[in-house]
């Protein structure tokens, strides 16, 4: 591993200043992904700034009935919090669907959404990857695409040599639930504080696949707020994967149904970012939430989906799998008489 300097500053403001001042600096929280990357050579920072003890570990009530998750609260802690389990079960379920007990004890609220893709080519420094090494090309196109995107991609077979090509998916389960919940991300940066709506935190590859989020260099997540939900709201997370535990999602679904029948829907394992299914939500707006309506809505969402060919028949199976999983998940949230 490349030698780096390690700093543990006195407060978050100092940490932000340290990272902002050094172009090759990174924040370290739980380290469950970054430490792997240091070993693999995927991340080669000059300076590692440890913020784990600087941000809050607390989960606190907000005046409007919401909940603030301090950036250093752990995934285990949030998943076990009775308030989260009762009022935002989709989040507790998503957290418990991710990783393993040991990893969840280390992983944090601030760090989990910023983990990077598990695209096998991104993680192997001997193969070209636009995300890891901008301009080097995309090895995933036509390769091992089982865990890759079907939404938000430029086409069925993007140009592997183009510098903007990236068909990676975001791996976090937690992030899919937070996208469905319209969580708010509290950020401290060199220019001060700002709030980023969670669905806008992650980005599509655009012309720069190396950037996963809209955060600027030196910006630090200090907390994530869960907005209050109307009483009687039901929510659930369903993760479909290749083995029963300790595997990333092939597809996952976070669904929130409010008492007046509004569906909020986010998908995991299908795009470069946690995919808020806004098209499906629009189609359903004002409609009775029936199975047929949901089926039609998800079909509209998937109309633009692009299967990626590749090893072991590629990932075209994700398109029907998303539709089936959304339907099964929403069915479980509907009142008896509607399902």
């Amino acid at each position: 591993m490349k030698p780096f300097a390690y700093a543990r500053p006195g407060d978050v403001a100092e940490a932000v200043r340290d990272v902002a001042a050094e172009p090759r600096a990174v924040f370290l929280a739980g380290g469950t992904n970054l430490v792997d990357h240091l070993r693999l050579g995927v991340a080669r920072p000059d300076l590692v700034v440890d913020v784990r003890t600087l941000t809050s570990r607390e989960v606190t009530d907000l005046p409007d009935g919401g909940l603030r998750l301090g950036a250093a609260s752990t995934n285990s802690q949030v998943a076990a919090d009775p308030r989260v389990r009762e009022r935002w079960p989709v989040l507790a379920q998503a957290l418990l669907a991710g990783a393993t007990g040991q990893l969840r004890n280390m992983a944090t609220t601030g760090g989990n959404p910023l983990q990077r893709t598990r695209c096998v080519y991104f993680q192997d420094v001997t193969t070209p990857c636009n995300k890891r090494e901008p301009g080097s090309g995309c090895s995933a196109v036509g390769g091992y695409t089982r865990y890759h995107a079907v939404l938000g991609t430029p086409g069925a077979l993007p140009d592997a040599n183009a510098p903007e090509t990236c068909i990676a998916t975001h791996p976090s389960d937690m992030a899919v639930a937070l996208a469905a919940l319209d969580a708010q991300v509290q950020v401290l940066g060199p220019a001060g504080e700002r709030t980023v709506p969670f669905p806008e935190l992650h980005r599509l590859p655009g012309d720069d696949p190396s950037r996963d989020t809209v955060l600027e260099h030196g910006e630090l997540i200090t907390a994530i707020d869960l907005p209050a939900l109307p009483v009687g709201t039901r929510s659930a997370y369903r993760k479909v994967r290749d083995r029963a535990s300790y595997a990333f999602a092939l597809v996952s679904v976070a669904a929130v149904v409010t008492p007046d029948g509004e569906l909020r829907l986010a998908l995991g394992g299908v795009a470069h970012k946690p995919w808020r299914a806004t098209r499906a939500e629009e189609v359903l707006r004002g409609q009775q939430l029936t199975e047929d309506a949901v089926r039609a809505a998800i079909a509209a969402e998937l109309a633009a989906a692009q299967p990626q060919p590749g090893i072991d028949s590629g990932n075209g199976f994700k398109i029907p799998l998303v539709a089936r999983t959304v339907l099964a998940t929403v069915r479980g949230l509907l009142p008896e008489e509607q399902s």
């Binding site: 591993m1 490349k2 030698p3 070993r39 050579g41 598990r118 096998v120 080519y121 993680q123 192997d124 420094v125 001997t126 193969t127 090895s139 036509g142 390769g143 091992y144 089982r146 865990y147 479909v240 994967r241 290749d242 083995r243 029963a244 535990s245 300790y246 595997a247 990333f248 092939l250 090893i311 072991d312 028949s313 199976f317 029907p320 799998l321 089936r324 999983t325 339907l327 099964a328």
Partner: protein
């Protein structure tokens, strides 16, 4: 016939003698060997799949503080023998597969060695590579023989004519994936050359056989056996991948030779194991079955296509079990290989039998379905009276008893499919088989010492139980309490022992121990004196060549498929085996359920996703190469019948390390078919292969 030992210690449920050390974390593994002032090595690997290394820029690396040696094809010493191309590390500039060893950095810390190794700039003359297996390649060839010395092709009667004449025929193609052994303990070595002269080499190496390991190293370095000691008391799993040393051992010895007097440690990373530690070839199996309407086979044939490396040939004996499993007058088996620019395949738990019982056992289920016959009954109707391959009588063959008892225990009768809420449920069965093998070489030494009997033999315990069961065998052979017996293993200072492979360890080493014990009693009687000593060779043990020795078994599976998503769960695996006399039920059960669980893993999860464009396994780490985890494993039951076999050895035991993985994947596929109607002929059974058939 052999006089079987009277079982007193044999059959007892004794705890593992090495268990406490392992639980406490004080058992010493190869990389942890306490040595003075070790140095650390990290390999440089080729990043092309075919071509030549034309230059390596090592000047900056060599100048770094803390870097002790940088070896490349351009400066490494010439080895005494390059006959085995896998072992000819750094002996030439040619690259035969991606990930091949092309250098090594030795440094004061492992972190520094790794960083420097990864930073060395290599220039190549790259050539187009050829790394994609298919059954219709024009360059498939027949190897001279297949693994374990089996014939490449066999034929009897006329399969084509039988197929043309039969009331029912079945022709199907099945395939198994590429698999990597992935023992928990990586391939690791600590090597120390004593400084003086030609020196003496000590290797603390994670191996399934210290003596075979030593023999290979001696040949490569041109050393006498007396100049090399290999030590390996504990092994964190091998599954065949440590059966013979791989190139990493030679590289470590080479690196240590550059630093005489300084121990050098090298442990492969998990990622490197996907290039350097062997793997099971993918197999393509074309099956043909012909039968009458009652299910009596008139033809059985398997034509196998698989891959090897251009660097070194390994031909998995996939077609072998089809030769002896069921009765049929017309039979054929063939093996064809594609030699590719790929890493070198090797042994993985039950080479031959494991992949080779997939196609046939799914085909038998398909035939049973076509004929409307219960799949157990179909197998019973094709039970051969003698070994169809050799014509010899069986030493014991209790497949039918295993099937019947398994059916009873599992609750086989009744419908094979039903729906339970969101889950489609089905059951499946398949047969298991594994030959009972004994190696030609092994010697045990037995000494009376301070009132205890101490046996020494260079055997290996991969987690199998050898530390525990060899004393049980020795105690019964001596007629003493097992508590009075110590057996020392895992060191070439002890008498020569064969590899722990082919499920032959207990048979081979146990037989040598029995000979030694009998010799000891003959020489010294029942009341020996301190220092009395005798030895025994396995070749002095009686060997019956007039019978065909095999273990058999039957595996039953309940599979549940989610009706919405196609996710597969297997809440129940049940196996019944005929494995002769069980030496220790605790370690035996562990071997059998371990094999079955690995078979479940093969059925549902394991798949080295080969990227032929790059020439490597795309998912080359344990996050992405999925091995069945606890949450995937429900009830796993292993039972054995009371089986008396007087022909196999003095213990009456058959090998049990591998039979558990044989047949499991077929039983899973057959159960999933019952649940969904989908016959998954290409492993693994992943949900995408089931989606279109779901309600």
């Amino acid at each position: 016939m052999t006089d079987l030992l009277e079982p007193r210690a044999i059959g007892q449920d004794l705890v593992r003698r090495d268990g406490e050390l392992k639980v406490r974390g004080t058992a010493t593994y190869a990389y942890e060997t306490p040595v003075e002032h070790p140095a650390y090595a990290h390999p440089v690997q080729a990043t092309i799949a075919r071509g030549r290394v034309t230059a390596m820029d090592t000047a900056a690396a060599e100048a770094l503080d803390g870097v002790l040696a940088v070896l490349t094809p351009f400066n490494a010493e010439r080895l005494a023998s390059t006959e085995d191309a896998e072992y000819a590390v750094l002996q030439g500039q040619d690259v035969g597969f991606r990930g091949q060893l092309i250098g090594v950095v030795v440094a004061e810390t492992s972190e520094l060695a790794r960083e420097v190794a990864d930073g060395i700039t290599v220039r190549y003359e790259e050539q187009p590579h050829d790394a994609e297996l298919s059954a219709d390649r024009p360059d498939l060839y027949a190897p001279e023989q297949v693994n374990a010395g089996h014939e490449t092709d066999t034929a009897e009667g006329d399969v084509a004519a039988a197929m043309a004449a039969a009331e029912m025929t079945l022709e199907r193609t099945y395939s198994t994936a590429m698999y990597h052994n992935n023992p928990l303990e990586p391939h690791a070595t600590t090597a120390l050359w004593e400084p003086a002269g030609d020196g003496f080499l000590t290797l603390w190496d994670s191996t399934q056989g210290v003596h075979p390991d030593r023999a290979a190293v001696c040949q490569v370095f041109g050393l006498e056996q007396e100049q090399v000691r290999v030590v390996c008391p504990y092994v964190g799993g091998g599954f065949g991948s440590k059966g013979l040393p791989h190139a990493n051992v030679m590289l470590t010895a080479l690196a240590a030779r550059a630093l005489p007097g300084r121990p050098v440690k090298l442990a492969l990373t998990r990622q490197q194991m996907f290039f350097l530690a062997g793997y099971r070839t993918p197999t393509i199996q074309r099956m043909q079955l012909a039968a009458d309407s009652r299910g009596r086979l008139s033809a059985i044939a398997i034509d196998v296509v698989e891959q090897t490396s251009k660097v070194k040939e390994f031909a998995e004996q996939t077609g072998v079990p089809t030769r002896m499993m069921y009765a049929s007058p017309n039979r054929r088996s063939t093996h064809r290989l594609a030699a590719l620019d790929v890493p070198i395949p090797s042994w993985m738990r039950a080479p031959g039998e494991c992949p080779g019982m997939f196609g046939p056992e799914v085909a038998m289920d398909e035939l049973a379905e076509e004929l409307g016959i219960d799949p157990i009954e179909l197998r019973v109707r094709n039970e051969p009276e003698v070994d169809p391959e050799t014509g010899k009588p069986w030493s014991s063959r209790n497949l039918v008893r295993c099937l019947r008892e398994g059916a009873e225990r599992f609750g086989w009768s009744g419908p094979r499919a039903h729906r339970d809420g969101d889950w489609l449920v089905g059951t499946g069965v398949a047969s298991s088989v594994y030959p009972t093998m004994r190696q030609a070489t092994s010697t045990a030494n037995l000494r009376y010492e301070d009132g205890r009997y101490v046996a020494e033999i260079g055997a290996a315990d991969l987690g199998t139980g050898a530390w525990t069961i060899l004393p049980q065998i020795t105690a019964d052979a001596l007629g003493v309490d097992v508590a009075d017996v110590d057996v020392r293993i895992g060191d070439t200072r002890y008498p020569v022992a064969s590899v722990a492979g082919g499920s032959s360890g207990t048979n081979t080493w146990g037989s040598a121990l029995v000979v030694a014990a009998r010799e000891f009693r003959t020489k010294f009687g029942a009341d020996p004196r301190d220092g009395d000593e005798a030895s025994g060779d396995v070749d002095q043990a009686g060997q019956d060549d007039t019978h065909a020795p095999y273990a058999f078994g039957a595996q039953f599976v309940e599979a549940r498929v989610n009706a919405d998503t196609g996710e597969v769960r297997v809440p129940r695996l049940l196996g019944v085996f005929g494995v002769g006399r069980v030496i220790n039920p605790r370690t035996a059960r562990s071997q059998l359920i371990g094999g079955m669980t690995m078979g479940l893993s093969m059925a549902l999860h394991e798949n080295s996703a080969w990227d032929p464009r790059v020439g490597q396994v795309a998912n080359h780490d344990l996050a992405e190469y999925h091995i069945t985890v606890n949450a995937d494993v429900g009830e796993v039951e292993a039972h054995w019948i009371d089986e008396h076999d007087p022909y196999v050895n003095a213990m009456g035991s058959k090998g049990i390390g591998e039979i558990g993985i044989v047949g499991t994947a077929a039983a899973v596929v057959n159960a999933v078919h019952a649940a969904t109607g989908v016959r998954v002929r290409h492993l693994p059974v992943t949900l995408d292969k089931l989606l279109t058939a779901l309600p």
